[in-house]
């Protein structure tokens, strides 16, 4: 505030000036009064010497002249004095004017000082306010710093969280990848399965062909056997014929050679012929028998064919049943989310840290009412097993396809419970 001190210095000097002037004016005033007093005493004392003197005329004249001169001097002096008085009055007036001026200036100055004082006070207030603000700012700053440190901790925390989140994201990605991989695997499995099924089909086809081939071969073998048998028979027949011819030849030769024994021979021949006839008869009979046997075999075959046909029919029936079953299950699968949901909502999970898995076989009646829920594969924890069977029983009746024709295929199914991974 150099400006202000300077100003106050100015005010002081102004005061000083006013004081000096006032003193001068006062001195002047005193002078005037004093001279007035002198004036009046001089007038009374100048009269008395005249009454006291009674001398010569000359002396008197001289005295008068002296007095006149004195009076003249006095008059001049008074004149001078008046002049001076006038001067003084003028000066006084001037002084008064000056005083008035000074007064006015002083008043102005005072006003200015008051204003300055007010301004100073205002400034001081302002300063105080500023200081308050500063203090507040400092407090704010401290608070901000505190906040910043808090924010810093928060940032660190967030950073950590971020890292964790990143980790989680990464895990999620991994899971996603894993999922994709699993899906691919599943697809591959699917493909493998299809391939396997195809291979299976192919294998079956091959087997069938093999069987056909085998049957054809068997047929061939059978024919060959028959052919061989026929050939053998033929051979035997031929041999027989040959032998018979030889025999006849021999007999003829014998006839010729043994003419003497002709009669005997004829008899024997007759006997032989009779025997042949008998044999022929036997052969005929055998053939008849064979024919009958063949007939029986054919009948047997027809019967076997009938059995085969029946069997085929049975398979066909089974296939139809299987189709029906598949249809039932596919219909049933539509209801599975609803079943799962109902059971899930009834399952109060136990707060356990181990992982448990329980399989329960469920039998239902045609309306979906649970007839039994039997643990077929225990988790090893009675408590866990119990919690799941209670859930199933509480969820009864289960929502199932309303069509009773499917019931046969869905009256039994199972639940596999595993505790929620926490």
């Amino acid at each position: 505030m150099p400006d202000r001190t300077h100003k106050s210095f100015g005010i002081k000097s102004a005061f000083l000036a006013v004081g000096v002037h006032a003193a001068i004016a006062l001195a002047v005033g005193v002078n005037i009064i004093f001279e007035n007093v002198l004036d009046s005493s001089a007038t009374s004392s100048s009269v008395q010497p005249i009454q006291a003197r009674a001398v010569t005329e000359e002396a008197i004249n001289a005295e008068l002249e002296l007095i006149r001169q004195r009076e003249e001097q006095e008059r001049l002096r008074i004149l001078e004095q008046n002049k001076q008085l006038e001067q003084t009055r003028k000066e006084q007036q001037e002084a008064e004017q000056q005083l008035a001026l000074i007064e006015a200036r002083r008043e102005a100055e005072e006003k200015r000082i008051r204003e300055a004082e007010q301004a100073r006070l205002a400034q001081e207030d302002e300063l105080r306010a500023l200081e308050d603000v500063k203090k507040r700012q400092q407090e704010d700053l401290a608070a901000i710093e505190k906040e910043q440190s808090l924010i810093q901790t928060e940032i660190e925390k967030l950073e950590l969280e971020k890292q964790e989140r990143a980790k989680a994201t990464e895990e999620l990605e991994n899971l996603q990848k894993e999922k994709i991989r699993l899906k691919q695997e599943l697809e591959q499995l699917e493909i493998a399965k299809r391939e396997r099924l195809q291979v299976e089909e192919l294998r079956r086809e091959q087997q069938r062909k093999e069987e056909e081939r085998r049957l054809a071969a068997a047929e061939l073998e059978k024919k060959e056997k028959e052919r061989l048998a026929a050939a053998k028979l033929e051979k035997e027949r031929k041999e027989k014929e040959r032998l018979a011819a030889a025999k006849l030849e021999k007999e003829r030769k014998e006839k010729e050679r043994l003419a003497a024994a002709k009669l005997e021979k004829e008899r024997k021949e007759k006997e032989r012929l009779a025997a042949i006839e008998k044999k022929k008869q036997q052969e005929r009979e055998a053939q008849e028998k064979k024919r009958k046997a063949e007939q029986a075999r054919l009948a047997e075959l027809a019967k076997a064919q009938e059995v085969e046909r029946k069997k085929e029919e049975e398979v066909r029936q089974q296939r139809i049943a299987e189709q029906q079953r598949k249809k039932a299950i596919s219909e049933f699968s539509e209801y599975i989310p609803a079943i799962r949901n109902k059971v899930k909502n009834e399952w109060t999970v136990l707060d356990v840290s181990e992982s448990f898995k329980t399989t329960v076989l469920v039998k239902i009646d045609v309306s979906g009412e649970v007839k039994s829920a039997t643990v077929t594969n225990s988790s090893g924890s009675d408590e866990f097993d119990r919690s799941v069977t209670i859930a199933i029983l509480k969820a009864s009746p289960l929502p199932i396809p309303p069509d009773p024709e499917f019931y046969n295929y869905i009256q039994e199914f199972q639940f596999s419970f595993s505790n929620p991974s926490s």
Binding site: V349, V388, K394
Partner: protein, 432 residues
Amino acid sequence: MPNAASKILLMIILLLAGAHVHAVVTIEIDQGVKRGIPIAIVPFGISDDIDQELELDEVIRSDLSRTGRFDVLNVDKFLQSPTKVEDVDFADWKLISVDYLVIGSIERVDESNFRIETRLFNVFNEKQIFGSQFIATTSSDRKVMHQIANEVYERITGTKSSFHTRIAYTVASVTSENKTEHRLVVADYDGKNATVILKTDSPILSPSWSPDSEKITYSILGRDQSKIWVQEVSSGNRQIVAEFKGQNRSPSWSPDGTRLAFANSRDGNSDIFILTLATREIIQLTTDRQIDTEPAWSPDADYIVFTSNRGKGAQIYKVRAKENQQIERLTIYGKSNSRASYSPTGKQLILITDQGTGNQVGIFDIESKSISVVSSTSIDDSAVYSPNGEMLMYVVEGRDRHIKILSPDGRIQSRVETLEGAVNQVAWSWDS
């Protein structure tokens, strides 16, 4: 996600079903509902010749509901109140969706003995899960009821309950001569059967049970020196085990019962020590110039956690229970963390944490280093796990200092009955 997965699974099952005629459709369920298990405890039948007031089924009811794992049905919802097996109509209980049913009866055997009979049923398969008989006297009826509650709890949840546990707490009150009296009290976990085992005019601090639940160690604050005592609960016999130079505080019993970890300030500031009880030998675990205190053992006795102000504010640190080991800081978050002790699994710490809103009970997960606040008040102190780790207990500070039991999810809270006065600290143990 599980839906899609199970759909694929179902497809596979259907495919397999094509190949094998006898394959059964399987429905996978890996989700359920987290809620209290609905159970009804029917008021026990009391034979006419009993005129004493006995606290029976209500003990079972409050035991079970306190755990937060049961939804104990209100008696006025019952459609029937059977006391014998032949009177039970399961349909009535199915109708109000109760999974389990407890019935019981009590009859006089002789002048001072009663026979209590009780049964637990699975309402849905209508079968009895267990039935037992107990002989009780008027003074032991609560104990028997805790036993029954414990059996019910174990048979349904597969885990041990906390109903057979004891607590020790310190309580301060002003006597008629206007002096402060400090008492050490042991009681059932629900605060009943309270017995004062020590009265002194000096504050009793940090009670800790021996692993066999037969002794308690504590520190008594003296004018110049705090000393550590061990007291046998049944006989009341007690002796000083640590009066080393400086303050001897915060004793904590090792899991095998042979040692105590404690804090001593002989070097001017508090450090952690281990005292072998048989030999009175000590080893020093921490040597720094900061305050290290409130040690607690890990269940495998390998580590000790403690509170220290070596970092910024009070935080929890971990050190191997041997000399000259590296010290690891555990807690990162929070204005301050103190009074840590291990969960029975050793995977969590229970502690007092100030997350900027005052002291609250927190669970610190050692692996993830995260803290979850479980209490709802903001002025809590001295929190401990139940011996089975399934419940928590802590002291609520303020004008009315008292003990609260908390289910670990913070859902169920109940006040423990305590002797008159301001409760300071609490310790929890199996019943010996």
